[in-house]
């Protein structure tokens, strides 16, 4: 059984991205209305908007949180060709409740791109505060804040030119110190003749450069999203790709003579699963915290979930979709009527109906 809590987002257009902070207690939303909004969860579980500001002069595509070790920091990227870093400032002498005295300031505006910035992601915190952006012109940029206590200074550390326009990127979150930093980049280039649409880059400590390790040749259709799975100390990396279907790929570093000598990792690429369930283009992929369930968003209007079982094979487990019939929703509200008035301060949940009701099989 699932329960749903409805939060009125108050954006004037569709939301492009929703991101949660490290603890899942804060939410940031961004939209074509050029605004970014930040929401906080109260102790009763209610979500309250605490900030809202016009962040860009174009659609805001993505919003993402930095690790809380760096404070309360957001990054956004936009159609207006910029990416920005925002920090929340607490006013002087905040009271115990401390609400209302906070606001977000733009710490930096990254204006190097000449086209729409399509994705922005903070790097793993073990490397300090790094930020990667990618853009329609096909350039991946890595920025760094050398002094993590001063976020107004960012330096452009690396620029990597990809041969195709970039639509999305993902840092490898591996906690293993032996793994060099790795970024996967996807391209939504529409021409299959241009070859693979997913590129894997790695930072080489010796040459101090990002080099391309691999182009995943099996994916030639446009790629719209890409996500590394949280690494549980595995020797290989798992990458989810949103393209014409949902693809799950294992990347295994191969230790042969050649790679040991050159210091450049060689990857063995294997497709572990391919799901056509959406029967349409796939827009987004997202892993749960432990990397056991993948959720994907498709053009069929559905969110689908895939779970890994104990022998590492993947199976679809659930589907979510929008439903305009209000009947079932309102009847549930009526049933919950008493509870709602009794705890007006707490979050209100709607019980969701399920179509194939396996959970409701009579047990006895």
């Amino acid at each position: 059984m699932l329960e749903a809590q409805d939060i009125q987002a108050e954006h004037k257009d569709l939301i492009h991205d929703v991101a949660y902070d490290y603890y899942g207690r804060r939410m940031a939303t961004c939209s074509s209305d050029q605004y970014v909004k930040v929401w906080d969860q109260t102790t009763e579980g209610k979500w309250i908007q605490t900030s809202s500001w016009k962040a860009h002069s174009g659609s805001v595509w993505k919003v993402t949180w930095a690790h809380p070790e760096f404070g309360q920091v957001l990054a956004t990227c936009s159609f207006d060709r910029t990416a920005a870093v925002w920090e929340e400032i607490v006013g002087e002498l905040p009271g115990p409740g401390e609400r209302g005295t906070r606001h977000w300031v733009r710490r930096t505006n990254l204006v190097d791109s000449r086209t729409s910035v399509t994705d922005v992601k903070f790097g793993p915190k073990s490397q300090g505060l790094q930020l990667a952006t990618c853009s329609a012109e096909g350039i991946i940029r890595i920025y760094e804040a050398p002094d993590v206590m001063n976020l107004s200074q960012w330096t452009l550390q690396h620029e990597v030119q990809s041969k195709l326009p970039c639509s999305c990127l993902s840092w490898n979150p591996s906690l293993n110190k032996l793994h060099p930093q790795m970024i996967a980049v996807g391209s939504d280039d529409a021409n299959p003749a241009n070859g693979g649409k997913v590129f894997i880059y790695e930072y080489n400590e010796n040459s101090r450069r990002w080099t391309k390790l691999e182009t995943i040749g099996s994916v030639v259709e446009p790629v719209h999203d890409i996500a590394f799975s949280p690494n549980l100390g595995r020797s290989y990396h798992i990458l989810a790709i949103a393209t014409k279907d949902v693809r799950i790929v294992n990347l295994t570093p191969v230790e042969d003579e050649q790679s040991l000598q050159s210091g450049v990792t060689k990857l063995d690429v294997q497709t572990m699963a391919q799901f056509e369930d959406h029967n349409s283009l796939v827009w987004r992929v997202c892993w749960n915290l432990t990397g056991t369930v993948l959720c994907s968003t498709g053009d069929d209007g559905c969110v689908r979930m895939f779970k890994m079982n104990y022998i590492n094979s993947w199976k679809p487990v659930a589907v979510l979709k929008g439903d305009s019939s209000k009947a079932q929703c309102s009847s549930n509200n009526a049933a919950n009527g008493n509870a709602v008035t009794a705890f007006s301060g707490t979050a209100r949940y709607i019980k969701l109906g399920s179509i194939s009701q396996t959970r409701e099989t009579p047990w006895h």
Partner: protein, 644 residues
């Protein structure tokens, strides 16, 4: 283990029209919002959904029944038993089998206690929806107990020779206790003529099917015609029934023989129409000899097929072996024409009787208990070595991985709860492959709404030597404290994680605050820095400077002066703080007692000339020079006297 795909509907029109996107939120929630992919090659203009409808974000969470307060005891107590198994296994106890059997019973008694609790609440409850919810829980945990008990009989507490009947009857009578209860209440009245009670014959037959022969005899004795010959004959027959006294008693062959003689005797008495006057007794006797027609007659009295099965086996196959159970079970189900009405519980019980453990596990993982049952039972069966056979039967099967995947899921679920997360940790601790990594991912994400909770998280991380987690949590807490203007707190977190750069940053903040306000804050902490201050030079300076302050304030000017000189001579003074130190040396230079030697004074003068361009020092420079030269003359005179 595959299952059907469930579909959930989000009741929102915009979500329907635009489509939806989903993203994970924390551990167990999914966030869904109306979404339409925008192509960056399109013109950037409002979508056709702009401003028409309010867009919403939906947070979907799984309804975790285990988080219901009434099940808290079950979660905590079963955790104790789970941990007991794990230490039992590592201790290599001699009689593991017996211990594991005890463990199984402990689990069951926890479920029963939980059921009692639920029953109580259900009776007390007055709200209809609450009652319904509790009723659902009761159904779920009743089924769990029923399956667990059968699994215990078949897989954990196996009898020598695989004889299973007596336990099977016990199991049935435990789950259908009403015959025994009725009988007890009737017998307690100790009156003759019990047959006037409407439930009398039902109770007699029920007791008979559960193999409770003594009870049957006691009930028959209270029949008003118990003295007549037919009743006496029945009594004699029942009394003469051969019983199996466990493996120590008569051998199986002997028993079989005795049984055959006994039933032949009963059959001949039936054939001689000795019971024809008492149709109930006649029915009982015909059941005893296993007459098909008689068993068809009582079919409807059996609530469930397994009650029927146990009774039927008792009279026709008293030495049935556990591995034969499956075929008899199927026969019983066919006889009762239940093949098409098998409920979930029936299916699981049948699978257990067929020794299809894989199927049992497959079915019970879908129960509405968030994996409590499947993870605890699988763990127990794994430690009983009951899963290793499956490795040969099921392709790609790994008993260890299966166990771990359930324990991991269960532990992860508990990690999502604000007070059960520590219980969750103990499950993850016993996942040898991925447990520690999952802890490393989840532990630092525990919502730390209080410092005490953060301390708890740090302790748990330290216990597992997860230094990364310790450092990260301390850093986050330090940053939080700093943002709230609580520098002392921030510093103590920074010290806890031995974070050099952050400590230096905070020490700078302390010193800057001092410059602004003339006061040092958090003096308790600075007092007790000890060797902790070695983390950063800046902190050493702060600590020493505070010491100087204390000495000065308590009037120990000589020590204060000595400390000041050693600070000036050191290389750890921050640039922005030089002028403070120099200015603060003025009163000491001008002190009535001579505090600085000529050498000390030279040090001060040297520093002073080096820093004379510092703007903050500008208007103090003259006074400083004057004070220094005056002190120098005093010191030189004094030192000259001493030499003389």
């Amino acid at each position: 283990m595959e299952k059907e795909i469930k579909t959930f509907l989000i009741p929102n029109d915009l979500c329907k029209r635009a489509g939806i996107a989903g993203t994970w939120l924390a551990l167990d929630q999914i966030s869904v919002f109306a979404y339409e992919k925008r192509n960056i090659r399109q013109k950037d203009q409002p979508s056709h959904f702009a401003s028409t409808t309010q867009s919403s974000v939906f947070h979907l969470r799984q309804d975790v029944v285990l988080f219901h307060p009434i099940l808290r005891k079950l979660v905590n107590e079963s955790n104790g038993v789970f941990l007991a198994i794990q230490s039992l296994i590592s201790s290599k106890n001699a009689d593991l089998r017996l211990e594991l059997f005890k463990i199984s019973r402990q689990y069951r008694s926890i479920i029963r206690a939980c059921l009692e609790n639920l029953q109580d609440e259900h009776t007390k409850s007055e709200k209809s929806d609450e009652k319904l919810e509790l009723q659902n829980y009761i159904t779920v945990f009743y089924s769990i107990e029923c399956i667990w008990h059968l699994c215990e009989i078949l897989f954990i507490d196996t009898m020598p020779g695989n004889l299973v009947l007596s336990q099977l009857l016990e199991w049935v009578s435990f789950h259908f206790p009403e015959y025994e209860r009725n009988a007890a209440s009737m017998l307690a009245e100790n009156v003759v003529g019990l047959e006037t009670r409407s439930e009398y014959w039902d109770t007699v037959l029920g007791a008979l099917l559960q193999g409770r022969i003594k009870l049957v005899r006691a009930l028959l004795k209270q029949h008003s015609s118990s003295d007549n010959s037919t009743y006496r004959l029945a009594e004699q027959i029942l009394k003469a029934m051969p019983t199996f006294n466990g493996p120590g008693g008569s051998s199986l062959n002997e028993l079989n023989m005795q049984w055959r003689h006994w039933t032949m005797d009963v059959q001949s008495k039936i054939d001689s129409k000795l019971f024809s006057t008492e149709k109930n007794l006649d029915l009982m006797m015909r059941l005893i000899v296993g007459e098909e027609k008689a068993w068809i007659e009582i079919q409807d009295k059996c609530e469930v097929w397994y009650a029927y099965l146990a009774g039927w086996l008792f009279f026709t196959e008293p030495t049935v072996k556990s591995f034969e159970l499956g075929q008899f079970a199927k026969r019983a189900i066919t006889k009762l024409r239940m093949n098409n009405q098998m409920k979930q519980l029936d299916k699981v019980l049948l699978a257990a009787m067929e020794f299809d453990i894989f199927q049992v596990i497959k079915e019970i993982q879908h129960m509405y208990d968030n994996g409590w049952f499947v993870s605890h039972l699988t763990d127990l069966l794994y430690h009983c070595d009951r899963l290793c056979d499956l490795e040969k039967e099921v392709p790609d099967f790994s008993a260890e991985k299966l166990r771990e995947s359930f324990i991991l899921d269960y532990g992860t679920t508990l990690m999502g709860h604000k007070s059960l997360w520590q219980v969750g940790l103990t499950y993850l601790d016993h996942c040898p492959n991925d447990g520690l990594q999952v802890i490393e991912l989840l532990l630092p994400r525990i919502h730390m709404d209080t410092e005490a909770k953060a301390q708890k998280v740090v302790r748990e991380a330290k216990n597992r030597e997860l230094n990364n987690v310790v450092q990260s949590v301390c850093k986050v807490q330090g940053m939080l404290s700093m943002r709230r203007g609580r520098l002392g707190n921030a510093l103590s977190w920074a010290l806890k994680s031995q974070d050099g750069p952050f400590t230096s940053f905070l020490a700078d903040e302390f010193l800057q605050n001092y410059i602004k306000s003339g006061r040092l804050s958090s003096t308790d902490l600075l007092d007790n820095l000890g060797s902790g201050m070695l983390v950063s030079d800046r902190l050493i300076f702060l600590g020493k400077y505070y010491e100087f302050h204390k000495l000065y304030q308590s009037g120990d000017y000589r020590e204060a002066a000595a400390l000041l000189i050693s600070l000036l001579a050191s290389k750890i003074i921050p640039k922005y703080f030089w002028y403070i130190l120099l200015i603060e040396s003025i009163p000491l230079l001008e002190s009535g007692d001579l505090l600085f030697s000529s050498n000390d004074t030279f040090t001060i003068m040297h520093c002073m000339e080096e820093k004379k361009d510092v703007p903050e020092l500008k208007d103090k420079l003259d006074i400083l020079r004057l004070a220094a030269t005056r002190n120098l003359s005093r010191a030189l005179t004094f030192e000259a006297q001493i030499i003389e």
